[in-house]
Every structure is written in structure tokens, then in C-alpha cells.
Amino acid sequence: MVLLKKLYDWIDERVQLENLVHFLGKKYVPIHRHSIWYYFGGVSLFLFIIQVLTGILLLLYYKSGEELAFESIQFIMSKVQFGWLIRSVHSWTANLFILTAMIHMFSVYFEKSYRKPREITWLTGMLMFFLAMGFGFSGYLLPWNELAFFATKVGTDIAGVVPVIGKPIMVFLRGGEEVTGATLSRFFGFHVAVLPGMFTVLLGIHLILVQRQGMSEPLGVEDAHGTPKKTMPFFPNFLLRDLLFWLIVLNLLAILAVFFPWELGKKADAFASAPAGIKPEWYFLFMFQTLKYIPAQLFIIDGEVFGILLFGVGGLLWTLVPFWDRKSSRGEKNRFINYVGLFIIFYMIVLTILGWIA
């Protein structure tokens, strides 16, 4: 203890920790009936940290390349001690991460926490969400199995459908005209270097903003004048609750990874037909299912072009919601936002189920 105190004093003397400690001591989390949603940002952070750690562990044995990737994962899962566990945790965490980030995103949306002055926090969050999908899409290919091979063909081909810029983007992503080992190399680079770098910067901004601006409170709660606001100190009360939730999630992950180990499937073969029942990951399923319903020709444009424009414009409007929802920024109720959000959730759930049972 004396040593720790000495170390603290040594650092404090040089970088003045006093302010930081003071700040943490003064940090409060509002308590109201929507407080539960505050935990989903934190748990997403926790899952991201797990991804970084298990990702580094996988890197110790993973080999990129058409002739090596599938075999190296087989090796990890069958020969390396607890390799099956690490890989399974990495795959499950990826899915839970998307799920918790989605819950976090929708809760922020319905509480209108993106409203002024938190537009930048929302934007960085949305960008991280898109990066998370990029992580999912690029990581999915790395085992170089049959499902991943066709998922990548379809996904990159969809990018190629975009007028004018689509084709160069597709060639850039694939590292050529076709999905080959060159694609695998590129995706590997994106997955372990490019995306983590970008994500870390955005995460830093996101977290600094949350610290600086404090927790957002839902509009209805802010309105309640007269009654003193209930709060909880962040340190240690809220942090301990956070940690408890993280512990529960870690246990859930362990159960999933052990009892439902992630499969590897069959090795990719460029000269095999796409297998029956092929599906993308669940978070792409609603878009995938929509593509199935859009006819080949719609008015004068190709069905795919229509689909991708639809999701592109939808995603853009969603990302820019702080800028067109003026009412919430003025502190007024905006029911329209709720209807849009509910419709999107309903649409996603219905199409995901349809895609699942198809």
C-alpha cells in the first residue's frame, strides 16, 4: 500500500492526477425508469475488449491464404489447447457485440439522446456500428469456408451494383475481379489493422464526449421540475453495477461457447455450387431477405440497385437523425421519430424471421 501511494504521488507530482480524481468523484448517473439502457453502451465496450483480446490470441496461430486459412483454423480448433474455446468466444462475442450495440443504438434513438448537444456522440456511435458490421463481414471470410466464400461474393457484388463508383469499390475490396486468395488477404488486413485502428479513434472520441457531457436524460424526465433529480455516483456505485452485468455476460458467453461451439463448415471451393439453405449472419438477414423479394426489374432500374439505394438512403437518414429531428433538440416531443423507429424494428424482426425459416 505504501508503495502504491508512493507510485501515485510520483505520477501525481508530474501529471497532476488530482483533477481527474476529482472529476471521477463528482460524476453522477441519473436514475429514472429508463436507466437500464445506460448499461448497454458499457457492455458493448466490454465485448469489444474481449474481441481485441481473443483476436490477438487467434492471431498467434491464424494464417491467411487460400491454402492456409481453413487449415489453420482447423489446427486452432483441434490441436491448440483451448483453441476451440478462444475461437468460439470470438465468434459468439462478435454476434453479442452487434446485438448489444444495436440495443444501445435503438435505446439512444428512442430516448432522443442524440439531440443537441450530443450529435457528435451519435455520429461516432453510428460510424462504429457500421465498422462493427465491417468487422463482422470481413471476419466472416477469414476461415475461408463455403458459406463465407459465397457471402463475400454476394456482399462485394452488391457493392459493385452501385452506379459509377460501385465497380472500382468491388475490385478494391476483392483485390481483383473475383473473390480469391487476394480477397482473403485484403479482408484480413481490414479486419486486424484498418478497422481496429479506425474503431479505436472513434471509440476514444465517443467515450471522451460521454465523460465531458455526462449521461443524457430522456426528455420526459428532464421536464419533471420541482422534484429533486435522483442520481447515483458513477464511482463506485454505477461502475460496480456495470461490472456485475459484464460478469453475467461473460458467463453467458462461456455457456454459449462451450455448449454451442462455432462450426467451421466445409472449405471454400470456387467450383462448387452455393449450398442450399445458405444464409448470411443474422444481422444481415433482413436485408438479404428484402433482396429476395425485390423483382429483377423495378420500373426502369435493376432490382438490386433499388434495394441497395433503399438501404443506403435509409441508413444515411438514420445516421443523420440529430440533424433533421429539430423538435427533440428544442426539447419538444416528437412522436414521428418513435413511429419510424418502431416500424424499422418491426420490419427487421419480421424479415429476419422470414429469412430464418425460409
Partner: protein
């Protein structure tokens, strides 16, 4: 603005000239840094061996009412033998989103599992999202061998 009292009058022409030189130079510098990077991102064209004809398999290796995927250079081609024994070949790349199609015996169709695209046994897109028919290849039987070649 720097105060200019009692100093030489500013030569605007000279100033403009320097502005152009400096900003032009900066632009050229940025360009010469970015161009190689962008060019690097573009994968070089692979020396694709142009295949015009391949030996698919022996006649007795493909049963009636079945299909198989054949390597045609770097591209997959689907060879089909109909129930009445006719041989046909089409590009196996779905015209929708680049998946590889298969012969579906129970549907009597060429089927793409990715988005449920369907083509009849003449390669015409009959249902689902595919926008175009499959490209047809020429099939020639030479003795026991089945040869597939590009249609010209």
C-alpha cells in the same frame, strides 16, 4: 495585414504570383504523394489465361437428369444432361449476385441457392431476382469426351 506605413507599396502582382507558385507546389506535392498510394490500391490485372475450350468429362460420367460444375479456366460452367439425354452448358455464375448455380433435379431447373433464383434448362431466368439469362456454351461430343467451348 501587416502595417505598411512608410514602407514600400505592396506589389500585388508579385504576391499573387507567389500565392500561385506556393499553392500549386503544395497541390503537386500532395498529388505526388497520394497518386502512388491510390494506384497501389488497385490490384494489377492477372494474366488470365484465355480458355476457349475445355474437356469437361467422359459421356458416361454424367447421368441423365443431372448436372455438374466444370472448371472453365477460372470460371465455373454448369454442364447439364437432361432427362432425354441432351447436353447443355451454361455459365454457372448467377446473373444476380455472383453465386454459383446448381442443377435441381426435383425442380427440373437450374437453381441458385443464394436468393432463390431460377432458370429453366435453356438458361432463361424464369423466377426470382436474376435479371438476365445464363450465357450458353457450346457442347460437342467427340467420341467419349464432352467438350465445352465458348459460343462465338
Amino acid at each position: 495585414m501587416i502595417p505598411n506605413d512608410g514602407m514600400k507599396p505592396v506589389n500585388e502582382d508579385k504576391r499573387d504570383f507567389l500565392k500561385w507558385i506556393l499553392s500549386g507546389g503544395l497541390l503537386a506535392f500532395v498529388g505526388s504523394v497520394i497518386y502512388p498510394v491510390l494506384a497501389y490500391l488497385k490490384p494489377p490485372p492477372q494474366g488470365d489465361v484465355e480458355v476457349s475450350s475445355v474437356k469437361a468429362c467422359k459421356l458416361n460420367e454424367i447421368e441423365k437428369d443431372s448436372g455438374k460444375i466444370i472448371k472453365f479456366g477460372t470460371k465455373p460452367v454448369i454442364l447439364i444432361r437432361t432427362a432425354d439425354g441432351q447436353l447443355r452448358a451454361f455459365s454457372a455464375t448467377c446473373t444476380h449476385l455472383d453465386c454459383t448455380v446448381q442443377f435441381s433435379k426435383d425442380r427440373g431447373l437450374i437453381w441458385c441457392a443464394c436468393h432463390n433464383g431460377k432458370y429453366d434448362l435453356s438458361g432463361r431466368n424464369v423466377s426470382g431476382p436474376p435479371p438476365r439469362p445464363l450465357d450458353e456454351f457450346r457442347v460437342v461430343v467427340q467420341g467419349e469426351d464432352i467438350l465445352i467451348s465458348k459460343k462465338t
